[in-house]
Amino acid sequence: MNWYDHLPALVLAVPLLGAFGAPVLGLSGRYARNAWFVLISACTAALALLLWQKASMNGVFVYVLGAESWKLALPSGMSLPIRIILEVDSFSALMAVIGSIASFAGTLFSLRFMERFSGLDKFVALYFLLTTGMLGMELTGDLFNFFVFLEIASVASFGLVAFWRDRPEAVEAGFKYMLISTVGALFVLLAVGLFYGRYNAVNMAAVGQMLHLGLPEKAALALLVAALAMKCGSVPMHMWTPDAYAEAPAGVTCLLVAVSQASLYGLFRVCFSIYGMSIGSSVVPWTIIVMGLLSMFIGVTMAVIQKDVKRLMAYHSVSQVGYILLGLGVGLLALKDAKAMADYGFTAIQGGIFHLMNYTMYKGLLFLVAGALAYAAKSRNLNELGGLAHAMPHTTFMFIIAAAAIAGLPPFNGFVSKLLIYESTFAVHPFLPVVAMVTSVLTLASFVKVFQTAFLGPRRSRLAEVEEVPGTMLLGMFSLTLVVLGLSLFPTWSMAHIIEPAAKALVDQAGYIRAVMGGGL
């Protein structure tokens, strides 16, 4: 019984324990609850890092739940896997690391941020349930299991978005999100049913091995793309994003960004690992690319006119998701053609994955900064803020780093991933990078505006009393700043050791299938 073998299960079990332990620990007071909150988050992040290390050393591996042996994917005499299988490769482990870091930062930030409110035992429990759901979506190799974790994450996030239930806007945002994502989740279930009807299997690798494109498969693909694109906040189903992101408590928004990336992960897992070469014509890749372009442009134009600082950043999320969709969509387009793949497809996928990682880090940081502004100045309205740079020097510093990263200024990490996307998409059509660059310029303009109105200029008399936010909140922001700076300072190392293995794992459909179907022990 070696715990190292059981890492994939532990990554899910620890936050789940955290969720159900929180109300119990909450009985013995505030300090016990806070200690539990931080401890479990830190443990989850550490386990996810170990998992990533294991995946980058061993390649793809499986973990079978409930079998005699954890690697018994195909019990003797069976041609199909019958148990729930977790399947971990560099890409999914990377997603788990990103998600758990965002979760950890949100935890540190929430300690003081949420202190003024009641019902914190439930807050902690829901927070960990959301983390579990997100990690589960990223690690599972089973379609129905994916649906279950999707629902766990969704239900927990409805509760957290509407956490300030005395605010009508929060409840409205929560309800809107709930309506859209419940229908989306049922789409996913329907698609799972279609797969089961055709292949008697719900395991992704098993379905991927047997897949022949027919009408039911096309229907399932359409349902999955629609549902998961909606869940990650892409245009045209983006309307829940600004509401939910703006109304959720800041620490939760930081985690919600990571959770939306789990849906994006699901989308690309389905496209690359289940469908792969047999995705047929280029309709689906182009749909994803067009959704990406629209998200980028509509998101950023809506962001420019916002006055609420959190809503503004939420619209930027829509536009940033567009970049990732663009990169990975171009990669999907090039999948069938080995030469195109070597020329630009692989770079596009790398750019997409790198941008996904960068986006989660700096966007989480930006939402935390917005939360810090709301906490210190008691307002999120840009017209009521001003001259806060002197009062909140640390927050300002971290805002500048995050804003430079999101605007893609060299030498920050956003620049690297955007450059990769520009270069590779240019090979498909020059129009694609043009849209991406215009979006980038508008992003910069919008963040210059935020910086200028909120942090520079004369300080308003109403804000004379404003002080820097407490230490643990700064620590939460700082942990994300550290990751952003690390990725900015060592782009070559991160490309070689983090992004490239993940991109390779994503396009290696045969390897993904072999890990499950390649024979028992």
């Binding site: 129905f144 279950v148 629902e151 239900v155 409805f158 509760g159 509407a162 239930r165 009508p168 806007e169 409840v171 409205e172 945002a173 929560g174 309800f175 809107k176 709930m178 309506l179 419940t182 229908v183 049922l186 279930l189 329907l190 799972v192 049913g193 089961y196 009807g197 008697n200 719900v202 600004p242 509401d243 703006a246 109304e247 809506m302 006119i305 916002q306």
Partner: protein, 115 residues
């Protein structure tokens, strides 16, 4: 023809539910629409696992018959029903809170977030 009849019913139910979610204005009716979609999806799974003349998929209780209906979709459906119940309960309680805040169930009037 007769074999695909259940699928037709499931499809119709799904569309009815979707129609209610998109076009109804009363929040409770929207919640009902969601439940109808849920029921349609669950029925789809059950129909999928049905084999003509099949018995219950418990080996010791199936008796003489050699044909069993598929057990996996039933297990999936059970899970989906439980999830659906939790979602519906949460949705109804959110509707209650919304009613308390806005004093109405009309979606046209619950629109403080826009732009």
């Amino acid at each position: 023809m007769i074999a695909s009849f259940p699928y037709l019913i499931v499809g119709l139910l799904f569309l009815f539910g979707l129609y209610a979610v998109v076009f109804e204005r009363n929040l409770i009716k929207i919640a009902i629409g969601i439940s109808v979609i849920e029921a349609a999806t669950n029925m789809f799974l059950i129909v999928l696992g049905y084999r003509t003349g099949g018995r219950i998929p418990v080996f010791t209780l199936a008796g003489e018959s050699k044909v069993l209906v598929l057990p996996t979709p039933q297990a999936l459906t059970l899970t989906a029903i439980v999830i659906g119940m939790a979602t519906t309960a949460l949705m109804l309680s959110l509707i209650m809170v919304l009613y308390r805040h806005y004093g109405t169930l009309d979606v046209r009037e619950i629109r403080r977030l826009r732009g």
